[in-house]
Amino acid sequence: MSKAMELFRSEEMQLMQLMLPAESAHNTVAALGEVGLLQFKDLNPDKSAFQRTFANQVKRCDEMARKLRFFTEQVEKMGLLTGSRLGSERTVDLDELEGQLEELERELLETNGNAERLARSYNELVELQLVLERAGSFFDETRGRASAAAFESRPAAPDGVSEIGAPLLAEAAAPAEPKSARLGFVAGLVPEDKLNPFERLLFRATRGNMFLKSTSVGAVVDPGTGERVEKAVFVVFFAGERARSKILKICEAFGANRYPFPEEPTRQRQMNAEVTARLRELQTTIEAGERHRENVLQSIASSLEGWAIQVKREKAVYHTLNKFSVDVTRKVLVAEAWCPVSGKARVQSALRAVAQATAATVGTVFQPLVTYEQPPTYFATNKITGCFQEIVDAYGVAKYREVNPAVLTIVTFPFLFAVMFGDVGHGTLMLLFALYMVLSEHSLLRQQLNEIFEMCFAGRYCILLMSIFSIYTGLIYNECFSVPMAIFGRGHWACPGKPDAVERIQMHFQPDLCPEAFNQGLAQERGPYPFGVDPTWHGSRTELQFLNSLKMKMSIILGVIQMNAGIVNSLLNQLSFRDSLSTWCEFVPQMIFLNFLFGYLCLLMVIKWVSGSTADLYHIMIYMFLQPGEGGLTCDGGCMENRMFPGQGTIQVLLVLIALISVPFMLLPKPLILKERHEKRAQQLEAYGRVLPTDADDEESNALHIAAPHGGHDDEEFDFSEVMVHQMIHTIEFVLGAVSNTASYLRLWALSLAHSQLSAVFYDRVLMTGIKYNWIALVVAFSVFALATLGVLMVMETLSAFLHALRLHWVEYMNKFYSGSGYKFAPFSFAMIDKDEL
């Protein structure tokens, strides 16, 4: 039993105890992480994360991870490539790395701060320069007009206010208020889109006592936010100190940056020159800073990945160490871990290597523990079996050492999919897609794929098998994009009485050649078509009648066989868990019930096919219950065509009787026997005193105890009503399930019908219609056909056939034997940790 097929049962596990000397504990755990075969149990579940022994180290690792995330962000912002991992370079120890990271972070933050400050003042200067230029040009141009106007209006305004703003307000304010206070002005930049509301608000706030002049300057980097914004230079003129404070507040609210603006043109020019000089200076400083920053980031980028892996691993090591219980003397750490028996040797050699390397005086103790706990479930899958195991695990993880449904699923899943998806053409398209993924697997593995493609890629071998089976079932259905192929010769049907007249096209165009072909139909002249469905059926009036009957019967036969396989799996479980009670009280009656009713139905189908009987199977099955015996086989008119073989009536009575008797047999004996066993044990315990099985019990049969829930040792409370109810549910589920699950397999027929009808519609109605007209219609028709084939058949139909195959496995097949109550083996493994996010 121990040498069972791989994957058929989960790996044998053992709970191991490790005693690690404190000084080499860290290195030992790191070495075990490389091996990746131990799942450590948390021995301090009651302690919070802060109370644990190595909480401080975990915190340090978290801090380092934060720094690394910051570096990654910075490096990505720069658009630098992170260097290839320096995988095995472990010369830097954690403290050193921590110091290094600290130093680098400080340096980077400082550089960033400097760069930000410089950029800010640079942008401010740019804006100031703009203001100087643009606002200066307002003044220049108005000054020109002002002198002209002053010259003209000298007699009208004898007081001769040569105020610089006056010409601007010449029409409105200046003449009316000659004694007004000096006009003030504010210059600056405001975002272009805020300009209108800005002006409106200024107008309201000053009751119209202002004048705003603005000009757009295009996109400018805002010094505050560092983003490029469309801006406009403005100069607003106003009168009075109160207006000024109002305007300043409004400027602030609108995010308008104000700049000092000297009135005199000479000072303006001087200032402009100063600004230009400082800008040039700043430019070089910024460039130097940027180069420095790039150098720092470049050096970080090259080792970022290596550091990230190291930090992730360190953190995982300390997390694992936190699960250990610390001895009072603090010299030894005690750990418990699940280990696959097959991997024990590797763990031991890793432990020896660490002991040698650290030259520890005492090595790590690695010894098995006795436990009644259920071990984790571990299947050693590879890239092909992995995705099928995932399909099964999505339903529930197998109980420890339970029969693994994934084994048969590897074939039956793609096969049932293909029964629904059978078409050579569509299968070939799918095969190409699967081959692309399988053949370029290495390059695709290294790429970051999008989510949907990632999912397809994970199931690439499943898709490959699905496509191969689809091509096979397509050959059986004789359909390639719904067109029949005559690979195995011409159809075997010919005109009745004229065995040579087989050309259907000829018969179509010369109806008088074979008039029988249109009413009674053709006759099969040369026995059945050797492989698959005869191509003659395609497009005939009776095609669906024939195919539906065939596919329905096929679905039932496939279903009954798969369900039988499921029940046989339950037998294998019972045998390996030494549960003969369940074998007699569950397996045997279940087999009898299913096969005496639905197995018999399958047998009748085969007899009907082989003998050519015209019996009505519905009638037979229904009257098997309503009127058992020969009477049920006669139809209303007293005909005897439902009798398919002699003694059928008697046999059917027996079948129904035995099947019905097997129902209470499933229900009653098991709980009663369990009750009796329990009582007997209770009596024994009374007689001998309480001798409980202790840990000193035989160690070899340890695995057996765990695996046998109904076996020997369940000395926990026995609740008869609970067991009875459980058994009742189980029985009802099976009996009703036998009927409903058999019917459920008809989905194979339904989906297969839908698939072939859809593809026939696309082919006949779209492509063939296009061919009748000119080439443009053909191109259009072909593209519609191609799109429909891809979108509806290749994507949606694939998905629905996949889901239905999934359901048939999860429900109809697996509920016959699978408990799925285990938990997955999650070893402490660096290979896994390296893939995690930092």
């Binding site: 048969l408 059986i476 009413n519 139909g521 026995g527 492989f531 005869d534 096929m554 066989i561 096919w609």
Partner: protein
């Protein structure tokens, strides 16, 4: 008729033999149980589907009728 039936059956049998030998000679040393199971199941599924379709056409109760028009 019979020749076609036994021919295809023989083909499946030969396929099974070839796959079994293939697993024996190309597989790793030791445990090849899974591979044998998978090959056998696959061949059985294919054979089953073929024989169902074959039997259904042995004594067909409906006959193909051409569509007029």
């Amino acid at each position: 008729m019979a020749s076609g039936f036994w021919g295809v059956c023989g083909f499946f049998l030969a396929l099974e033999v070839v796959l079994t030998l293939g697993v024996l000679f190309t597989g790793r040393k030791g445990n090849n149980g899974l591979r044998h199971t998978l090959c056998t199941t696959a061949v059985f599924c294919c054979w089953l589907m073929w024989i169902i379709v074959y039997m259904a056409q042995l004594n067909p109760l409906v006959r193909p009728q051409l569509q007029n028009g």
